[in-house]
């Protein structure tokens, strides 16, 4: 028995010395990371809807905030959700596809101006689109004078603006990943008679699915998070807004005003994104780093 208890005791000692403090730190950091989320949930179910009286476990629990959110005709929550989904999904898909096409040729082909293109993309990547928000507004305004559906207050121009930023957002990361796919595979395919497009769709794309997942997820969330350009292009007309811009209307100006419906909506908008993120997170660590290391 003595021989068995010895490693147990030792293990416990190691556990105290090397593991316990990690758990303690982990709980503190987890508390920081979850802090706003926890209070968002708490406030969403607190029927009093006041910041000043809010408790972690609300005294008066109920779904009043949700019914108030759904019944507000001037602030149509579900229309906002649909708008957000349309814009974010279309633009994220566009960013991924356009970025993948460009990255393929930058990774696999050697041509004049390749280095210049790569450098330019790297520099463009540094300049966020929101620096030119004023001029984007003017340009979309001009669009709208000729084609109404491309004008202010419509989703198509917003999708085009975000989707059009593809080259500056994803290309380097995708190229880095494509570089890791051995070129012997496509050389073999070339000998078997496959053209460049076939190689792209049948070899590169299937192998790069994890990085596509990461990139479209990051694009999707990036677009949902965008505030300035979205609000400038879609305007502040109730029907056109996205969730993020729309929900802000509940607490615009004075804080605490309509805090309840705001948190209820924020919670509903957060859950699907959070779930998607957690579901796909195993791709994230590898994807984020693989893009940068193999530059």
């Amino acid at each position: 028995m003595k021989t068995l208890s010895f490693p147990n005791a030792r293990r416990r000692k190691i556990w105290f010395r090397k593991v316990l403090w990690r758990h303690l730190l982990g709980v503190v950091v987890a508390g920081f990371a979850l802090f706003p989320l926890v209070w968002m949930i708490s406030a969403a179910f607190d029927v009093t809807g006041q910041i000043s009286t809010q408790q972690l476990i609300p005294l008066h629990r109920g779904l009043a905030n949700f019914t108030q959110l759904f019944s507000n005709k001037e602030k149509p929550f579900f229309t906002w959700v649909r708008n957000s989904m349309v814009v974010a999904i279309c633009a994220a898909a566009m960013q991924t596809i356009i970025g993948a096409l460009a990255a393929y040729s930058l990774s696999r082909h050697r041509f004049r101006g390749r280095k210049l293109t790569l450098t330019t993309i790297l520099i463009v990547q540094m300049f966020p689109q929101l620096l030119a928000a004023t001029t984007l507004f003017l340009i979309i305004n001009t669009f709208g004078k000729t084609f109404v559906f491309l004008g202010l207050g419509h989703q198509l121009p917003l999708i085009l603006i975000f989707g059009g930023a593809a080259l500056g957002v994803n290309t380097w990361m995708l190229k880095g990943f494509f570089d890791t796919i051995p070129s012997e595979i496509d050389e073999a395919a070339t000998i078997d008679g496959a053209g460049h497009f076939l190689i792209f769709t049948r070899i590169i794309v299937p192998l790069a699915v994890p990085v596509f997942v990461v990139i479209s997820l990051l694009s999707f969330i990036g677009i949902l998070n965008e505030y300035l350009i979205t609000s400038v292009i879609l305007g502040l007309d109730g029907k056109n807004m996205t969730v993020a811009v729309g929900l802000q209307q509940f607490i615009y100006g004075q804080y605490g005003k309509n805090w309840g419906p705001f948190t209820a909506g924020a919670l509903l908008a957060t859950i699907p994104v959070l779930a998607l993120f957690m579901f796909l997170q195993k791709f994230l660590v590898s994807g984020l780093v693989s893009g940068s290391t193999k530059g």
Binding site: H23, G26, M40, L101, A102, A132
Partner: protein, 511 residues
């Protein structure tokens, strides 16, 4: 050689040509509405698409062109356009063209003619066009029918008069009775009839017209406005405004290029320079502190929670990246509620009363806390990835050679992690310089500096100050100055990106 056309090829041509055709159509429509750049751009795009996808040459370009076209339209063109606006005086009071400005000035200079006597009118609808017209007699015995866009003299034969010499019927028109006239009074008020002599007639009530005359006349040949009564001459100055010799300016002005003035005013005008310097200092301070803190936090967490002894490290990792997964617009707004002074959750938990968001220092701390919350998960993830990418053999070899954990970290782990992460840090730095969302939604840039022109605040960074100048200013929007500041921002980021690029090149080279 046998030419074989597969279904894929047919689809390719169908797609290419239909897209090219629609781009061409869009381009032509833009040319028609005088949007020159857009028109030319779309037509050229159509041409490029047809050329590239028809011939079996230029394979790389086939893949690059979609991205490049979008890049030009939505990123490069707007940047250059901002560059143009920075050299204009585009601002409130200078938004329209010179022709529009001069006609507005003339319009505003009208003075009523008192000796004209009352001019009565009847409102009428033209039978053919259903448009509203005014029918009136001025001067005596000459009858007119007109609205803002047209004016015609009526022949005596067209008018049927009643016994008291008021008009009863006009050929081709339906006269409105007093009730109908009242119903269209809003439209009546908008109608201005201009006579050849320069006189303007406008309804002052439902029966009579006011006769007025612009006191300014424009002479295009000399490019001057002359006041016909006082004889004062107004000439355009270099800021898009008509000014007399005595210095009296006429409003509105127009949009014109002003050279470097927006840039020099940043330097010379103390009202702009003082807040701007503070804003610039905070922009850099904020970015540097944020990147340092979040990288340090991310690196430490990655090192601590990557330990194989910790069985629950997956769970911790999942929790730590939650902030990445919450739409930040929403989470920042939640933070803004939590930071409410006294009644907010944070103050109640810690039993403190902190002037978050209203005191300069505390507002800055609040901004940093929220920014750190938003960014540390990303740093944590990239550091974790970089640490996991270090081959175990290297570390084992070092340990066998007797290296202490500190030495393993300092001499092996850190340099290898930095190698991976440094380019991402530079990119994050560029992002942190333009962290508009957090600052705008959390503090709105406030609290504002006392005694400064404009509305710069303690937490304003360059991009949010620019946004305020462009859209949100109490003194009226100044797009020209805002664009000049954007250019400044472009230059700052440009320097940073060149630095980052050189760093990357020395480290791994662009292959």
């Amino acid at each position: 050689m046998k030419v074989r056309v597969s279904r894929g090829t047919l689809l390719k041509y169908a797609l290419t040509y239909s897209i090219a055709l629609s781009l061409f159509y869009v381009g032509v429509r833009f040319l028609q509405s005088r949007a020159w750049f857009l028109g030319v751009f779309f037509i050229c795009s159509a041409g490029i698409l047809i050329y590239l996808y028809t011939f079996h040459k230029k394979v790389p370009a086939k893949y690059l062109v979609p991205g490049v076209l979008f890049l030009v339209l939505f990123q490069i063109y707007p940047s250059f356009y901002s560059g143009y606006v920075a050299f204009t005086n585009d601002s409130n009071g200078h938004e329209i063209s010179k022709t529009q400005a001069i006609s507005t000035i003339i319009e505003n200079s009208k003075v009523p003619i008192t000796n004209a006597g009352p001019v009565t009118f009847r409102a009428a609808i033209e039978n053919s066009s259903k448009k509203l017209f005014l029918i009136f007699e001025y001067p005596k015995d000459s009858w007119w029918v007109g609205n803002s866009s047209s004016l015609e003299q009526l022949q005596v034969s067209q008018i049927v008069k009643s016994s008291d010499s008021s008009i009863e019927k006009v050929h081709g028109f339906r006269l409105l009775n007093s009730n109908e006239t009242e119903a269209v009074s809003g439209d009546l008020g908008d109608i201005q009839v201009k006579l050849k002599s320069g006189l303007v007639l406008q309804a002052q009530d439902l029966q009579t017209l006011q006769v007025s005359k612009p006191s300014l006349v424009y002479f295009p040949a000399k490019d001057e406005l002359v006041n016909v009564e006082s004889g004062v001459r107004y000439h355009p100055n270099n800021n898009g405004q008509m000014v007399s010799q005595a210095g009296e300016a006429l409003y509105p002005g127009w949009k014109t290029t002003v050279g470097w003035r927006n840039f020099t005013s940043i330097i010379h005008n103390a009202d702009i320079r003082h807040p701007l310097l503070k804003v610039l200092a905070w922009t850099f301070l904020n970015a540097i502190i944020l990147i340092a803190l979040s990288f340090l936090m991310g690196l430490c967490l990655a090192l601590i929670f990557n330990s194989p002894l910790l069985y629950s490290r997956r769970i911790y990792r999942t929790i730590f990246i939650v902030p990445m997964a919450i739409p930040s617009v929403l989470s920042v707004l939640v933070w803004s509620g939590l930071f409410t002074a006294q009644t907010g959750v944070i103050d109640r938990i810690f039993h403190i009363s902190t002037p978050w968001l209203t005191d300069s220092l505390w507002a800055r701390i609040a901004v940093l806390i929220v920014e750190l919350w938003v960014t540390f998960p990303y740093m944590f993830l990239i550091c974790t990835g970089a640490i996991q990418a270090i081959p175990n053999e290297i570390i084992e070899a070092a340990e066998i050679d007797g290296a202490s954990p500190l030495k393993v970290f300092g001499l092996i782990k850190l340099p290898l992690v930095m190698r991976t992460v440094a380019p991402l840090l530079v990119a994050s730095g560029a992002m942190a310089l333009n962290n508009f969302g957090v600052i705008y939604l959390l503090t709105g840039g406030g609290p504002t500096f006392p005694n400064t022109n404009g509305n710069a605040g303690a937490t304003d960074i360059l991009i949010s100050y620019t946004y305020k100048l462009a859209f949100n200013s109490q003194e009226g929007s100044n797009y020209g100055l805002a664009s000049a500041l954007s250019i400044l921002n472009f230059i700052l980021i440009g320097i940073l990106s060149v630095y980052g690029l050189r760093r990357m090149k020395t480290m791994e080279g662009v292959n």
